[in-house]
Symmetry: C3
Subunit: 215 residues, 3 copies
């Protein structure tokens, strides 16, 4: 019997959730990095290769999320409330889904001129996912509650920035003489990106409620 | 005192949920059958008569869903977790709502030329609701867990097909020279139909989590 | 030690929720009043001043909602089920968000000619929020269960009216010779307003389930 197997016996079953959530938030960080590389890439072919690669990450993330739900069904004891685990897993899965959804739209709709609004969203999403990743890794030991809370507050304010960016984007679309079909395409893209920030906020709110119960 | 009344006394109160969920999933099957008949009907008047009839089914379904929530409030003991009953009822209700929503749009927007994309969605929805119906009827005795799980896996893969159909549909709309107003109408219809497959998946995920807790 | 401090000691901790929910529903009533004043205001500058003032109310509401979640984390004993408090707070917060979202769209999109559909929505929302406010104030003593239930039933039927208004609005947009960009703007506005009625219904459904468990 190897060391790993012995460890597995002594590892409290409920600690498996920390590792799974960390895996998800690492995946999201990768996805956000790739998305941010893609939106500043001028060469459309190279950009689409980057965007296309997000599909695989999204699938990978689906599998980890599925594992979380299976563990949730199996484990009677969980490190935090069952419904918090459920909400957190669902919100994080949605972050991946909508980021991939936005990427697909860029490719499928042939939106080759990625505008300032899209770049702004990419940066907001990067900041939000960085804070989310930090918060999720902080759940394991719950040592630095102040920085955990600060990360959640930051994600909330980034969601407000996302709202403002969407408003600005829509006003620009309507004030310019862009043809209606282009408006439909970009509106769809902007909305997807704004939902990414919403779902990050949903996840942060769950984390905040976990912290409140802990203290 | 008749046999039925005697049975009612001995029938464990929590078993009422099986019958109610089966009623809902039978309703959904009827709705999907009617919708599939409607989309291949060439005569617009006959088609609209079929589509219009879905409103009554949707109302019928609302009432059963309402009964589930009332029983959920009344019964202290439930056959599966309370939040699972809540989620399952909500998802199934949404399936009916969005299918009726899509049907209304076909009529209200005067989308008389139902295209290949709509037919494809109708077939995906039919397969998904057939699998859902099977899974829900399997909950009562939990005998054939393998086929229950297979139904849920199928519904998940049909939701992916629905995603692809939406992508294909949107690309066709944008690549053709359709006028923007037609794009707005069809985009709305396609999105409603895609949400039907999403809600079937939500229901399947709840069923899967019920199975996991059972084994 | 003042009287207030003494009272605080004797006030059962879980009763704090009633006051917070009442604060939220009072805020929503204010928001709905302002919105209804705005939509009948002919002077665009005066109208936008009214609409703009909703932002502050929305922020105020966010803070009370946040307090509810903090109390939910802190209090082991709650007056009704924890998940009901969570759902109710979320739905009410969404009512404020979407009403402010609709108001922003009127301003940002420069929709200066507020049509009959928008006025109709404003009135439906006013009736729905009035009923909601009444229901929420009724939760504290649970004395008049009949009028509590009637308020919830009314909100449900107002949501159906909202659906019909949206259908009518969309048919008018498509049947007129409005240009596509105007259709996109108004569709977005109508949908936001319809979601307000949906979220009122979500809140009413939670209240109904609280009543069912109580009787």
């Amino acid at each position: 019997m190897g060391f790993a197997s012995i460890m597995k016996i002594f590892l409290p079953k409920d600690r498996v959730f920390y590792g799974l959530f960390e895996e998800v938030s690492n995946n999201l960080t990768q996805m956000s990095d790739i998305f941010n590389k893609a939106v500043v890439e001028k060469d459309v072919t190279a950009r689409n290769t980057l965007l296309k690669s997000l599909e695989e990450w999204e699938h990978k993330n689906d599998e980890v999320t599925h594992k979380i739900f299976i563990e949730l069904g199996r484990n009677f004891i969980t490190p935090f409330d069952r419904e918090d685990i459920h909400y957190l897993a669902t919100s994080l899965d949605d972050v991946a889904d909508y980021l991939w959804g936005a990427s697909k739209r860029v490719m499928n709709y042939g939106i080759d001129d990625l505008d300032e609004i899209t770049l702004e969203f990419a940066q907001i999403i990067a900041k939000s996912i960085t804070a989310l990743n930090k918060a999720i890794h902080g759940l394991r030991d719950m040592k630095d509650l102040r920085s955990l809370t600060e990360a959640c507050v930051l994600i909330n304010s980034l969601e407000n920035e996302g709202d403002d960016t969407l408003d600005k984007g829509m006003m620009q679309l309507f004030s310019s003489n862009i043809n209606p079909v282009e408006i439909i395409k970009k509106k769809d893209l902007y909305q997807m990106l704004e939902i990414v920030t919403d779902k990050c906020e949903d996840a942060a709110n769950v984390i905040e409620s976990i912290i409140i119960k802990y203290v």
